[in-house]
């Protein structure tokens, strides 16, 4: 009989005790072992000590600003980090994502969303298991052969469109900021040229979505970026 795989360890860094309590309940129900820290400094210490598999970091910490915690953490660890923020703090979220966070959640969030994002983040943290094929409902992408099929039918994409899709597939399930996308697909000189992104997203949606005006695959993350949904 296979022993139960050891539980994943999650470190929750949040100054609000109510949030920590709630997260503990949800995460333990999801099978995680939970450690808590109430401040940025404590969080960094715990991270060094406990070596968690994933970190949930609140951006509204009292002692250190969330992005600084992230930067310090990233100096010596690649542990996946999901940040928590509130509405109207898009700039904070973008800064966090650009500085090494893997994903974000806007309070109030549902438990399901939380667990889903954690799973995605962890999956991308492990060394890629040669996932050359991406499948999601109607979309199938084969990275080795560079073929894209929608509902079984092959679809022709331009080089840029493919590069864009490829980026999303490689980060399937994770949010990508506009800057990140522009930098990866068009190059560092294009990070301000959002209109390129908009136009190509529209093209991509036209070609890949069942209902381009109500996209289910390539989803807009309001004010932050885009996300390729996984099942």
């Amino acid at each position: 009989m296979n022993p139960e795989p050891p539980s994943q360890v999650v470190l929750v860094i949040d100054d609000e005790i109510q949030i920590r309590r709630l997260l503990r309940i949800s995460l333990e129900a999801g099978g995680y072992r939970v450690f808590e820290a109430a401040s940025g400094a404590d969080g960094l210490a715990e991270a060094a000590q406990r070596r968690p598999d994933i970190v949930v970091l609140d951006l509204g910490l009292p002692d250190m600003d969330g992005v600084s915690v992230l930067k310090r953490l990233r100096e010596w660890s690649n542990v996946p980090v999901v940040v928590l923020s509130v509405r109207d703090r898009e700039d904070d979220k973008i800064a966090a994502l650009d500085n090494g966070a893997d994903d974000y959640l806007t309070k109030p969030f549902s438990t399901g969303e939380l667990l889903a994002r954690l799973r995605v983040a962890q999956r991308h943290a492990r060394p890629p298991l040669d996932e050359a094929v991406f499948k999601n409902e109607h979309l199938e992408v084969d990275l080795t052969s560079r073929t894209v099929k929608v509902s079984g039918k092959q679809v022709k994409l331009t080089a840029t469109e493919y590069a864009l899709l490829q980026l999303f597939v490689r980060h399937a399930g994770k949010v990508l900021t506009h800057r990140q996308i522009l930098k990866e697909v068009w190059g560092p000189n294009y990070v301000e040229q959002t209109h390129y992104l908009r136009v190509y997203m529209t093209h991509l949606r036209e070609k890949l979505e069942q209902n381009p005006s109500a996209p289910e695959l390539l989803v807009t993350e309001s004010g932050v970026g885009y996300r390729l949904m996984v099942k």
């Binding site: 509405r87 109207d88 080089a159 136009v199 997203m201 807009t220 309001s222």
Partner: protein, 895 residues
């Protein structure tokens, strides 16, 4: 004309106010003596030492002992404020340092010689004015005074002693003071003089000896005693007035004295003051201005006489009338005067005798039941009275010449007519008469009368038989000549008088017009800058001078920078003068008693509510303004002050309106927020408590339902908090849009997904124009705005109805519209619908009323606008309009 024998409320108020100001002001005690050397300074110092021993803080402001040992001895122990030393034309002068005394703030200050004139360059020309300032500051003052220096007595003293009095103190100052009489017998004083105990400046030695004669001293002593007694009487009367004691009130007399430039007027004014005092009556000084112009010297004397009257407590009235008697009587009737004071000159030339007699008789006849006092003039005073027909000025010569020339011309014409036609000599007289009448329309009185006479003589000489002789043959002709003469003179006189009346009327009208124009322009002025510009313009124009307006800053102190529009800059020294005016609410500067060596005249802009500011006028003339000019200036300044006050009050009213409005809004906010918040909280609390109940948690349906309620309540609370934060951002101006190229379809999609549950009961239709390019907007703000519009539509329309979202490009703009098929917006609400907390009457209750104002705030922060309208087929349509810009070109790619 007699007032009732009861307390006159005006007088009562005056007396009470007097008492009140007396209490706040310092108290003045005057040590009064009949002459120098009676021991006033000595007594003053003694009294001060006594006060000091009682613990009062006493200082010496200015005391002159003249080296007398006994007096010097009393100085020991009393702190002395060092005098202010100044140099004037090489002579070192020392005066009391008023500022030092004010700064020292003693309880009691000793200042000798109340009547002293200060050195030029001092703050005030006279020491008594310095003392008034000390009193205003609450410092008590002891001072000394000789009876000869009292204004109303000065003239009498001059008469008695024969020496002229140069320095006087107005009676109004004595009215404020407690008088302590220092009395010694004349014999004693003369003995002291012999002993050398009386100070005498060497030059005046001879005059002084003359002065110190027994007869003089006795008379002076009596005057001093009487003065002191009168003062006591006044105190008693005041007391009786305040206590409402029915004393032996004199019936309410009112006195009137006619004032002219004659120096005799000054005497009469003083005499009237004494009469008014003894009758306890009000009195006024009246100047009747006629067409006769005054020389500058006369003007100066007139102003001084009127100023004297004012100082002595009279009300000064100026009026215009050709006829002196008529003018006086008019004013007398208007003001309910009971007694008129006129003067009769001592020396009378023949002509003056006639005039005077005539005036007297007229006056007595016209006066009806008004008493007339005829006061004798002093022989030495009256200067040589100028003859009635004065030669006015150089230019007038020309007028005379021209007029005479015209008469000569007419004579020649007449001669021609006489010679060539059958027109008789009698008819020609009418030509002359016509000429005189026409002349009267253009020239002054003098030339007209000359011509009238000349024309009569010409007619006589050249035309009336026998010709070329002044002798008249027939009786008819003689009578005609006589009548002609009379008629010509009378006509000329009447027309000339009429013209001067008209001129005077026009002058008065000009004055009224000036005031009217100023008032009219000021009525339109809104800001203080506008007001000061208008005032400066008018005053500068009318008085040909430079004007500056100074208004106080927020801290209450006068600004040192003149308001825009002012034509001269106020130097630091002048600023001190202006500040003084501001604080004391009295004019200062040129031609006033306060700081007369300033560059300009500074007037306070005063209203009953206080001093609004200061206006400085740099008068170009070397001599002071006439009475009329002064009145005009005062009226303009008063008007300006009122308007400034009005502006100030208006601003204050607006502030208080704003405060009231914001008060109302915060109350509304609290009410609606508290309701909106409590409802979901109540739902959560009760659902949660339900879930913890064992009986409920056993039923999964109930559990699910309660959980649903909690979720919904949570979402609602979240939205409410979001709205509050949004509106706070909008209100505080913290909405900084992150403008970027966005896809409108994406926006609509994301928004709709976000409120899918709330929109579930409605049909939603989205129409996006295919030509719609990328739009520059803040995605997050627009998402919130669109959310609010959709939620509004869903909330206010019946379930099942259609909600349409459409996006269309326009001319440089892009329109995003949310239209519903609900009840629509009541027309009267349309303009107000985007206001905070506004609820259309009849709308469903619920929500905070903030949604639309958030939409407006967010859209306007992106340089857009919002519109609301009713749809023709029913329902409401809300449109967001944003500017459409050209998207930058994109590089094509290799396919």
């Amino acid at each position: 004309m007699n007032d009732d024998v009861r307390a006159d409320p005006d007088k009562l108020l005056e007396a009470i106010q007097r008492q009140e100001t007396q209490q706040k002001r310092g108290k003045l005690k005057i040590f009064l003596g009949m002459a120098a050397g009676v021991g006033k300074t000595y007594a003053m110092l003694e009294a001060a030492r006594k006060q000091q021993s009682l613990g009062v803080d006493v200082v010496i402001g200015y005391v002159e002992t003249h080296g007398r040992k006994e007096t010097d001895a009393l100085l020991v122990g009393l702190p002395v404020i060092p005098r202010k030393v100044s140099e004037y034309r090489g002579v070192t002068l020392s005066e009391m340092d008023v500022d030092a005394v004010l700064a020292r703030k003693p309880k009691l200050a000793l200042v000798d010689e109340l009547a002293h004139t200060n050195a030029p360059g001092s703050r005030h020309p006279k020491r008594y004015q310095d003392i008034l300032e000390l009193l205003d500051a609450g410092i008590d003052v002891y001072t000394s005074l000789n009876v000869q220096h009292v204004e109303s007595r000065a003239h009498t003293v001059e008469e008695i002693t024969g020496s002229s009095i140069h320095e006087t103190v107005p009676d109004s100052v004595l009215d404020l003071a407690e008088i302590e009489l220092i009395d010694i017998a004349p014999d004693d004083l003369m003995r002291r003089l012999d002993e050398g105990k009386v100070y005498m400046p060497d030059r005046a030695a001879v005059a002084m000896v003359n002065f110190f004669r027994e007869g003089n001293l006795t008379a002076l002593r009596e005057m001093a005693l009487r003065l002191a007694a009168e003062r006591v009487g006044q105190d008693v009367r005041d007391y009786m007035q305040v206590m409402q004691i029915q004393g032996p009130w004199k019936t309410g007399h009112r006195l009137l004295v006619a004032v002219s430039p004659s120096p005799f007027s000054a005497q009469m004014v003083r005499w009237t003051r004494r009469l008014a005092d003894s009758l306890d009556a009000r009195w006024m000084a009246v100047h009747v201005e006629s067409s006769r112009a005054y020389s500058e010297e006369e003007q100066g004397r007139l102003t001084k006489n009127l100023a004297l009257a004012r100082e002595l407590g009279a009300e000064v009235i100026a009026t215009v009338d050709e006829n002196l008697i008529r003018g006086i009587m008019r004013v007398a009737r208007q003001q309910n005067v009971t007694q008129i004071v006129v003067g009769k000159p001592a020396r009378e030339g023949v002509w003056k005798f006639f005039r005077r007699g005539w005036i007297m008789r007229r006056l007595v006849e016209e006066s009806g039941d008004i008493d007339i006092h005829i006061v004798r003039a002093d022989k030495t005073e009256e200067p040589k009275a100028p003859p009635v027909f004065r030669v006015p000025s150089q230019v007038a010569w020309k007028t005379y010449a021209i007029s005479i020339g015209i008469i000569i011309g007419v004579t020649l014409v007449n001669a021609a007519l006489n010679a060539s036609t059958s027109i008789g000599y009698r008819a020609l007289a009418l030509n002359f008469l016509l000429a005189v009448v026409v002349l009267a329309l253009f020239v002054g009185r003098g030339p007209v009368l000359v011509c009238a006479a000349l024309s009569a003589l010409c007619w006589n000489f050249f035309f009336v038989p026998p010709k070329f002789k002044f002798y008249i043959a027939s009786l008819d002709d003689a009578m005609m000549f006589g009548m002609y003469f009379v008629v010509a003179v009378v006509m000329g006189e009447l027309i000339a008088r009429f013209r001067t009346q008209e001129k005077a009327e026009r002058r008065r009208e000009e004055r009224t017009t000036a005031l009217y124009l100023l008032t009219r322009e000021l009525a339109d002025a809104v800001t203080l800058d506008q007001i000061s510009q208008i005032v400066v313009k008018h005053v500068a124009d009318l008085f040909q001078s430079e004007v500056a307006v100074l208004l106080p800053e927020a801290d209450g102190k006068l600004s040192s920078r003149p308001r825009p529009g002012s034509t001269f800059n106020v130097s630091a020294k002048e600023y001190g003068v202006a500040t003084w005016v501001f604080e004391h609410n009295q004019p200062a500067g040129q031609f006033t008693d306060n700081l007369p060596s300033s560059e300009a005249l500074y007037l306070p802009l005063a209203t009953p509510g206080g001093v609004m500011g200061v206006i400085g006028v740099k008068l170009p003339h070397a001599s002071p303004l006439t009475v009329e000019q002064n009145n005009l200036l005062e009226a303009l300044v008063r008007q300006a002050a009122l308007v400034i006050d009005r502006t100030r009050l208006h601003e204050a009213a607006q502030q208080s309106n704003l405060a009231a409005e914001s008060e109302r809004l915060s109350r509304t906010l609290l009410d609606s927020i508290s309701h909106e918040m409590r409802t979901p909280i109540a739902a959560i609390a009760s659902a949660a408590s339900g879930l913890s109940d064992a009986g409920v948690s056993a039923k999964p349906q109930v559990t699910q339902a309660l959980l649903g309620e909690i979720k919904e309540a949570g979402a609602r609370l979240n939205r409410l908090v979001g709205n509050l934060l949004d509106i706070a951002r909008v209100e505080s101006g913290h909405v900084k849009p992150n403008l970027d190229w966005c896809d409108v379809g994406d926006l609509i999609n994301v928004t709709v997904k976000g409120i899918a549950r709330e929109l579930a009961r409605h049909k939603l239709e989205v129409v996006i124009s295919p030509e719609l390019p990328l739009v520059r907007m803040d995605f997050v703000l627009m998402e919130q705005a669109l959310t609010n519009l959709l939620l509004n539509a869903a909330f206010h329309t019946p379930p099942g109805t259609l909600i349409q979202v459409s996006a269309n490009p326009g001319d440089g703009e892009f329109a995003l519209t949310v239209a519903d098929k609900g009840p629509g917006i009541p027309p009267e609400s349309l303009p107000k619908i985007f206001e905070k907390f506004y609820r259309a009457p009849g709308a469903k209750t619920g929500g905070t009323g903030l949604g639309l104002s958030i939409v407006k705030g967010f859209v306007e922060a992106q340089n857009g606008r919002v519109e609301a309208a009713n749809r023709p087929g029913g329902g409401a349509a809300f449109t967001i309009i944003l500017p459409l810009a050209e998207a930058p070109a994109m590089a094509g790619e290799a396919a």
